[in-house]
């Protein structure tokens, strides 16, 4: 089980291809990260690995055995050896203790008190046993969800953006717990994220997923320190350039083609930077704001993903920025392909690796 092999996996939802032939394998005890923008198929892939979704074609092998998705008995048996943490935290309307004990109870285990106690200690929620799970804060709730996944001591742990909606304090607790169990207990972990720094800190290997395809696979060094930059086009707003420090104590990164980005950190020399799409402000007119980075561009692609619209904005006819706006503001701004827009983001939004 701890070895996971995925062989040319396809998944289709009512005619829409979400996964288009994914192949990779993860070794026992490995920390494997799937990196990619929203809608790239990360979550679907994890759900297939947790046997919650059935692939349209292709195979998943766990511990050298092909998974039979049609057998409900096998699905339950395999799931009981896998733990999964969802991006959206779902807890049950019962005490924290009962929430964490639930996976043990459905397995018919009676003596769960001790296990629940120690796993709650691990996620730093000692003393929360009697609280109703629905009264917890977002960060506490996500830690309970991680405790639920860990209490059964799974061989494989699937984490779907576990820190996406958390404040820095809770995020660091979660990261700590994850890396601890990966090292101490040799649990195989597959995690999705779009936080590049998490990849650097945690991952043994990383795969970049975009549009249902696996674009790149390798160690962090191989991918982000790669000399050929066009390979990285798959990731949102990843740029390579040469950084220099300004008089004000910030950095200016020349990412080529006459585009300069100002960042709040101090770095000199070659850097890879990342600008989260959700940090970019979009407007139809030039902005006068505190944001240090302002560019003029043209919309070249519009992708509708539910209530959010992803826009590809070409700056200086060459650099692509991915920007996210809500559908409502998209409609209100009456945007279209070819529309001239202005994008802006703060120097502090620029992350370096």
């Amino acid at each position: 089980m701890s070895k996971v092999e995925v062989k040319s996996l396809f998944k289709e939802y009512s005619g829409r291809q979400v996964l288009k032939g994914i192949t990779f394998s993860v070794q026992k005890g490995e920390f494997f990260v799937l990196l990619g923008p929203n809608g790239s198929g990360k979550t679907t892939l994890l759900k297939i690995l947790d046997l919650l979704e059935e692939p349209t074609s292709g195979e998943v092998w766990l511990n050298g055995e092909p998974v039979d998705y049609s057998s409900s008995k096998e699905r339950v048996m395999l799931r009981r050896r896998i733990g999964m943490v969802f991006q959206q935290t779902v807890l049950f309307n019962m005490s924290v203790l009962d929430n964490v004990a639930y996976p043990l109870k459905v397995r018919g285990e009676r003596n769960f008190e001790q296990k629940v106690k120690s796993v709650l200690e691990l996620v730093q929620l000692k003393g929360f046993e009697r609280k109703n799970a629905l009264t917890l804060s977002g960060g506490e709730a996500q830690r309970v969800a991680i405790a639920q996944a860990l209490v059964t001591e799974p061989e494989l742990l699937l984490l779907d953006e576990p820190t996406a909606n958390l404040d820095p304090k809770n995020a660091s607790i979660v990261e700590e717990v994850i890396s601890h169990i990966n090292r101490e207990k040799e649990i195989t972990i597959i995690m999705t994220t779009h936080n590049v720094s998490q990849v650097e800190n945690l991952a043994d290997r990383v795969a970049i997923l975009d549009g249902g395809r696996m674009e790149l696979l390798g160690t962090f060094q191989e991918i982000f320190r790669s000399p050929s930059p066009n390979k990285n086009l798959a990731m949102d707003n990843i740029f390579h350039g040469v950084s220099r420090i300004t008089n004000e104590g910030t950095s200016i990164i020349d990412i080529g083609d006459g585009v300069h980005i100002e960042a709040a950190f101090k770095r000199v020399g070659n850097v890879t930077i990342h600008v989260p799409p959700e940090d970019i402000i979009l407007s139809k007119y030039p902005l006068i704001s505190s944001a240090r980075n302002t560019f003029e561009g043209t919309i070249t692609q519009i992708t509708d993903i539910g209530h959010i619209v992803r826009l590809r904005v070409k700056v200086m006819s060459i650099k692509d920025f991915i920007v996210q706006v809500t559908k409502r503001s998209f409609n209100e701004m009456q945007l279209n392909i070819g529309s001239k827009v202005y994008i802006a983001f703060k120097a502090s939004s620029v992350q370096a690796n």
């Binding site: 339950v76 009981r80 049950f92 459905v106 059964t152």
Partner: protein, 228 residues
């Protein structure tokens, strides 16, 4: 003498109302909750077009029946139970049983509808979560029902509220016979017609109290639900 019989009749009418509406709601819950849960779990989802079609039709029927005027239900039950109707051999017309049957038809769609949406709104996330934690399909379904318990409870209370305040249907099928099939609502109609406003107002106050208690319970559940 007058006082004694007055209160005796008030008691008789109130108890009959509670019995008829209570039994109708109880039986309606036994039938409606499993159906509502089943429809809410969306087992028909996906796979085959025909199943999806069945699903849509079932839900449309439930929603249509939820808005059915009670008098129409009363008329239909009357035509079923009348001696020359298909169920005439049961001899149930103008009995409390006929009223229970009428209210049953009124409450079942209410219970199914509210249970269905309570279960349906949490089904996907709770079921998926339970399965990923190692539950079997049955265990997951039980957990979904457990998590939807407040919604299910409010469906029962709403159904009882609809039943106890219903008048048109049971008037037709019960016949409003004194000491036998006269409930709070039908009694208020006849006592008003007779000009016995003391009786009508007394019964009205009792009905209002019951309605208040029902709504109090519903509000408490909703407030609790919102806080969670």
């Amino acid at each position: 003498m007058y006082e004694g019989i007055f209160w005796e009749e008030v008691l008789n009418i109130t108890l009959l109302s509670l019995k008829v509406s209570g039994l109708a709601t109880l039986i309606g819950a036994l039938i409606g909750i499993p159906i509502g849960t089943f429809l809410g779990l969306r087992r028909f989802k996906g796979k085959r077009t025909i199943m999806r079609f069945v699903d849509v039709i079932m839900k449309t029927i439930v929603n249509t029946f939820m808005g059915l005027p009670p008098v129409v239900v009363g008329l239909i039950v009357y035509l079923l139970l009348t001696a020359s109707g298909p169920l005439g051999w049961l001899g149930l017309l103008y009995t409390p049983m006929a009223m229970i049957m009428t209210q049953l038809i009124i409450v079942i769609p209410i219970i199914i509808g509210i249970t269905m949406s309570a279960v349906g709104s949490i089904e996907k996330s709770i079921r998926e979560k339970a399965l990923s934690l190692g539950a079997t399909e049955t265990q997951a379904a039980l957990l979904v029902l457990r998590e939807a318990r407040m919604g299910v409870l409010s469906s029962i209370i709403a159904a009882f509220g609809a039943a106890i305040s219903e008048v048109g249907g049971i008037m037709i099928t019960g016949g409003n016979i004194r000491w036998w099939t006269r409930t709070l609502t039908t009694a208020i109609v006849i006592e008003t017609e007779l000009g016995n406003f003391t009786m009508a107002l007394t019964l009205g106050a009792i009905l209002l109290t019951i309605a208040f208690i029902i709504n109090l319970a519903l509000t408490i559940i909703q407030v609790k639900g919102a806080r969670e």
